[in-house]
């Protein structure tokens, strides 16, 4: 196509400008709300894809998201800390948890890892529900909105810019990781762990980096989420949320590490709302979407579009081979 001849920066600048001016174009507050939620979710989806690239399939992304949200909520309401300290601390706390859990579970095969993440997603909800310190099943209420000096981020538009900034930061983090030697190692592991190991790539180390990076960014996103909705409960971060995140990743396109999550989460958050079926039929919609995606366009929505418009930047690998369960 013609567009392929233009340099990529032109496209990126265009997208950036559109994102900057979006609040002026959209008048609906509800749509802004959806966009903010999608923006926060896409960070977790990026973490999911980073883990998927090193062949760790996880279903507890929302757990780390919730961990960040709870850390931030606890620090700001119970200890009265400023949001700007809570945000990085939430990321660090979630990252530390990822480090500890990763030390225990990453060495097991991917099937066991997958099972353990599911169990963790269920247990964490139960455990937080029983902790009176963290508000139990009632959750934490009245988490303050962030502020700079006397300016409070109250309107949807202002919070949109805050979310956009965080998404940009996370995009830069992941972009940097993928461009560096770490990202090269990730790609090698994604194509064949055996081969990667045989040329001297430390699988455990690079898997650990992906796991901790995903935990850290999810924690940041969770912190922003907690301060946005100002009320968090354990059920918000249950396994269904994690399942939605994995579905976002597939719909956006698993080979597209940055653009896939953004497009996928926006599509899956926005379309049910737009069709006004969100409350009742959203799970059915998501389920149908994922099955159709898996059967008919496996490279996701971006894969479908990239044939025509965008220069493909995908990191392709042909799925996990059907090997022994311990592989």
């Amino acid at each position: 196509m013609q567009l392929q001849k233009y340099p990529q920066w032109l496209l990126l600048t265009g997208i950036f400008l559109i994102l900057i001016f979006l609040p002026f174009l959209i008048t609906s507050q509800h749509l802004m709300h959806i966009l903010i939620l999608a923006g926060l979710e896409c960070i977790a989806v990026m973490g999911f894809i980073a883990q998927y690239n090193v062949r760790l399939i996880t279903f507890c992304t929302a757990t780390f998201w919730g961990l960040g949200a709870y850390a931030s909520g606890f620090l700001s309401t119970k200890l009265g800390m400023n949001f700007w300290f809570c945000l990085p601390l939430a990321g660090v706390i979630a990252g530390c948890f990822a480090l500890i859990i990763g030390l225990l579970v990453i060495r097991a095969g991917w099937v066991t890892f997958l099972m353990i993440t599911v169990v963790m997603a269920e247990i964490s909800v139960e455990a937080i529900g029983h902790m009176n310190l963290l508000g139990g099943w009632d959750g934490i209420t009245r988490i303050p909105r962030p502020a700079i000096g006397s300016y409070l981020f109250l309107s949807k538009a202002s919070y949109y810019y805050l979310t956009l900034a965080l998404v940009m930061v996370c995009v830069l983090i992941f972009k940097g990781l993928y461009k560096s030697a770490i990202g090269k190692a990730w790609t090698a592991i994604g194509q064949s762990p055996d081969l990667a190991e045989s040329v001297g790539i430390d699988l455990f180390k690079y898997r650990m980096i992906a796991y901790v990076a995903a935990g850290f960014t999810s924690g940041l996103s969770g912190s922003l989420y907690a301060h946005y909705v100002s009320y968090i409960a354990p059920q918000t971060f249950d396994i269904i949320r994690s399942l939605y995140i994995s579905i976002d990743a597939v719909v956006g396109g698993l080979g597209f590490v940055i653009s896939g999550p953004i497009v996928g989460s926006i599509i899956l958050r926005a379309i049910p709302e737009w069709l006004r079926i969100a409350d009742k039929y959203q799970p059915i919609f998501e389920g149908c979407f994922i099955i159709l995606c898996a059967l008919f366009f496996r490279k996701g929505v971006i894969g479908l579009l990239s044939r025509y418009v965008v220069r493909p930047d995908e990191k392709s690998w042909k799925g996990v081979s059907v090997g022994d369960p311990g592989d």
């Binding site: 169990v119 139960e126 399942l243 081979s321 592989d327």
Partner: protein, 288 residues
């Protein structure tokens, strides 16, 4: 401890454990041969419970309802294999992702049709058996006995010629196909049989619990824990661990309240650390 309380807890544990066994055996059968990491298996169990409950409430005899629930789930498993999982056979992650989607559709579909409320299914086995001074409800014994009978039937089936072929397919699909086994048919059989086991488990347990659309999520955690502890593809391990988990759930709930989940996780963590391939599983070359 009072013997009466102990006995009741033991019986409750056996009842829960027998349903866990059926679900875990179905899961391990499906994953072992058809390589479908079925995330929706817990929801197959939920669907079985609803079908059985609906038929019993309509007035059908229980045995007929049980068989219909099993057959319906087998058909469902067969259809989902043919339509969704067979084209995705070589991509493990997309298979997992589609089972996730299937589970979401099933739960929400049941909520749309039946409403989000508990449906109490009356037990067909009423009455109480008195042994000395301890009273035992016939219903609980019937649940254990029916599950036992189903497991026995499964055991006999796996000893038959088709069962042996199924086992060969589980161990090595290519080798089995070189020996003249129609592996495609074996995958279908495994999928249908595993789904039917989940449906029967739900149908058996529903008079004891009540049918609710979200009942699949807790059992998902449980059967994954069981499979992690028992090892992949081990039916014997699934039986022993399933019973153990039922007892842990029952006794743990009595003594620790809702922390029983945590006890289960602790057990899983210890096993994971000592034997990552499970107690009865085949040891794999430890990578990483």
């Amino acid at each position: 401890m009072d013997f009466k309380v102990f006995f009741q807890l033991l019986l409750n544990g056996l009842v829960l454990g027998s349903s866990y066994i059926l679900v875990a055996a179905g899961f391990t059968l499906v994953y072992g041969s058809a390589r479908v990491f079925n995330f929706a298996h817990g929801h197959f169990y939920m669907l079985g419970a609803f079908i059985y409950g609906g038929l019993v409430l309509l007035g059908l005899p229980w045995i007929l309802s049980l068989i219909i629930a099993g057959l319906a789930l087998a058909l469902f498993g067969y259809l989902s294999w043919q339509v969704i999982f067979r084209p995705l056979y070589f991509d493990v992650f997309l298979t997992v992702a589609t089972t996730v989607g299937l589970g979401l559709i099933m739960v929400q579909g049941v909520i749309v049709i039946a409403g989000e409320r508990d449906i109490v299914v009356p037990s067909v086995f009423k009455g109480v058996l008195t042994l000395g001074d301890t009273a035992v409800s016939v219903e609980k014994i019937s649940i254990v006995l029916i599950s036992l009978a189903v497991m026995l039937a499964l055991h006999l089936f796996l000893k038959s010629k088709i069962g042996k072929a199924l086992e060969a397919t589980t161990i090595d699909p290519e080798g089995a196909s070189l020996q003249g086994i129609n592996t495609g048919r074996m995958f279908v059989i495994a999928m249908a049989l595993g789904s039917a086991l989940a449906g029967i488990a739900g149908a058996v347990i529903v008079p004891y619990l009540s049918a609710q659309p979200n009942m699949g999520y807790p059992i998902t955690t449980t059967y994954l824990c069981i499979v992690v502890v028992a090892g992949h593809g081990s039916l014997k391990g699934a039986v022993v661990t399933g019973l153990l988990f039922g007892l842990i759930k029952s006794f743990g709930y009595h003594f620790l309240g809702t922390w029983d989940y945590t006890l289960m996780l602790l057990l899983v963590a210890v096993i994971m650390y000592l034997r990552p391939w499970g107690i009865w599983g085949v040891e794999f070359r430890r990578k990483v």
